[in-house]
């Protein structure tokens, strides 16, 4: 049965984030309150996810390396996108990541005051990945790097729970001056990535498309491309993997009605859907 391998220190799995850092990521995410730039929302979501993953893997003796994690940014530069002391590192064990955030900020979160109200509580918020919005959208070059990382990973960990690649973008590839050709190239790159496999299944690819249009209707985890508006969204749909049954369960916990064959693809995501998609894609299912 696919996607059932235990995730343990001796048989870890991996996450690769491929993040659009093009100039358009400086635009505000529609309907966010308070207004938030897309690049800030993505950086917060990724840092929060890594914080939560570290918490889930925390044991008294240290953070257990159930996962290796890497992030690739693409915009004016293409490549590993960690900040601080980890700059330039590729896939790396979670314990090393937890030990070396670039900085630790103080953020506020609302907590129950015990009397029916909410109060602000200060929390330490580690930053590994900083917002960047600059340049074009060389999506294929980034996906090629992801392919190399994942290829190396599955060869070294042939029995692992397959790598999960989460690709977040708000735009169309600029790898070719011809949009149709660029679209075809991205489709090919995604198909190549998805074909990489361990004995437990193929690499799982999530495509999360951020909305630029305040009136656009979000489409989350469809199982058919018939309602998608254009060739570009159909390409991202085709390039995404089917949700595993555990991911379907997590999606339903979020109140998202997913059908059989639902794809790990969202179009025109707003902030809430972005965070939900990251949770659905990265919630640990079989830690040992």
């Amino acid at each position: 049965m696919s996607y059932s391998a235990e995730i343990s220190r001796t048989n870890p799995s991996s996450f690769v984030f491929v993040i659009d850092q093009s100039g358009s990521m400086a635009e505000k995410i529609p309907n966010s309150d308070p207004p938030k730039r897309k690049c800030d929302a993505v950086a917060d979501a990724i840092n929060n996810l890594l914080r939560n993953l570290s918490l889930k893997c925390a044991r008294p003796e240290g953070v257990r390396d159930y996962y290796y994690v890497g992030v690739i940014g693409y915009g004016s530069n293409v490549g590993p996108a960690w900040s601080g002391a980890l700059a330039g590192r590729e896939l790396m064990p979670l314990s090393e990541l937890a030990a070396a955030p670039a900085k630790i900020e103080e953020r506020s979160k609302k907590v129950d005051d015990g009397a029916g109200g909410l109060v602000d509580q200060k929390v330490k918020f580690p930053i590994w990945f900083e917002p960047v919005a600059n340049g074009g959208t060389p999506m294929c070059r980034a996906l090629e790097i992801a392919y190399q990382w994942v290829d190396t990973w599955v060869k070294a960990h042939p029995g692992s729970f397959p790598p999960i690649v989460i690709h977040i973008t708000d735009g169309e590839s600029t790898d070719s001056s011809d949009p149709a050709e660029a679209n075809r190239m991205v489709g090919e790159a995604l198909a190549k990535l998805k074909a990489l496999c361990s004995t437990d299944g193929n690499t799982l690819v999530f495509n999360v498309h951020l909305s630029s249009n305040p009136t656009a209707r979000p489409i989350s985890f469809p199982n058919s491309s018939s309602a998608l508006p254009d060739e570009y969204s159909k390409m991202l749909f085709d390039g995404a993997s089917e949700l595993t049954s555990f991911m379907q369960t997590v999606a339903r916990e979020h109140g998202i009605d997913v059908g059989e064959g639902a794809k790990s693809f969202v179009l025109n995501a707003e902030l809430t859907l972005l965070i939900q998609a990251l949770d659905i894609g990265t919630r640990p299912s079989n830690l040992r």
Partner: protein, 265 residues
């Protein structure tokens, strides 16, 4: 009355003994030794046994599960309610943390930014406790999916609180060391009682072994026969051998495995 109690516990495959997050009561050997089994005769009018399964998602869940079984083992079943058990256990938990952290000492080897939120989340565990009384009554209470099985004359009398292998999920209700919602705990704390006869056996188990047990009964097998012999000269192998066989042949989940067996005389 005379009861023979045998306890067995092993960590997940690939884990060290000190990483075992299950606990049981009575604790028949010093925790630091973590021997995998032990047997002792109890001459008593009231025997209390318990199993708690510490959850992987909580920091120090092995300490929390140990506290829960020890408190459950000392609480009068006539007065049992979730609030008292929880309050007693949290007091012990709080003292444990304060003692460890006294003088600014760190409680873990985690990066500094991570220790505080990890401790705020706290620890989690399931619990099942069973009391056998001299008047031949028994009472059990449970939170979560650790189970008790009652066997008489080579027949299964009761499987509780779960009685089908499919009932086990990855998300049982867990007792939190930090959560203050006692109403929620009360809603999930359930009890059952019955009568026992001389010669009856009871088996308390954490979830992986309980799921295996029910799977076997659903295949018209008698899994208690193998469990009954464990630790005796009649057993074909050790508890380690038995657990390895269940994992490899019968597909038992790779989890911490704990068994408390009570034989009545």
């Amino acid at each position: 009355m005379s009861f023979f109690v045998s306890t067995f516990s092993l960590p997940k495959r690939g884990h060290a003994p000190h990483e075992n997050q299950d606990s049981c009561w009575p604790s028949l050997s010093p925790i630091s030794l973590r021997r995998t089994n032990n047997t002792k005769e109890f001459q008593t009018d009231k025997l209390v046994t318990a199993v708690a399964d510490g959850a992987t998602e909580g920091l120090l869940s092995e300490i929390w599960s140990r506290i829960l079984v020890a408190r459950a083992g000392r609480i009068d079943f006539a007065d049992v309610n979730g609030a008292k058990l929880l309050a007693d256990s949290r007091n012990v938990w709080g003292r444990f943390k304060s003692r460890k952290q006294s003088g600014g000492r760190r409680l873990t080897k985690l990066p500094e930014w991570l220790e505080e939120p990890s401790l705020e989340i706290g620890a989690f565990a399931t619990l099942i406790a069973l009391e056998l009384a001299a008047d031949h009554t028994w009472t059990a209470y449970a939170v979560g999916d650790s189970c008790v099985f009652h066997v008489r004359d080579d027949a299964l009398m009761l499987a509780w609180p779960l009685n089908k292998a499919d009932d086990f999920s990855n998300r049982p209700y867990l007792i939190s060391s930090e959560e203050r919602d006692d109403e929620s705990l009360k809603a999930h704390l359930i009890g059952v009682c019955g009568r026992w006869a001389q010669g009856d056996s009871f088996f308390l188990m954490s979830d992986a072994l309980a799921a295996w047990f029910l799977t076997m009964t659903e295949r018209d097998k008698k899994p208690w026969q193998a469990l009954r012999d464990l630790g005796t000269d009649d057993a074909p192998g050790t508890f380690e051998d038995f657990t390895a066989m269940c994992r490899d042949k019968d597909g038992m989940r790779n989890d911490d495995v704990t068994l408390v067996r009570i034989d009545t005389f």
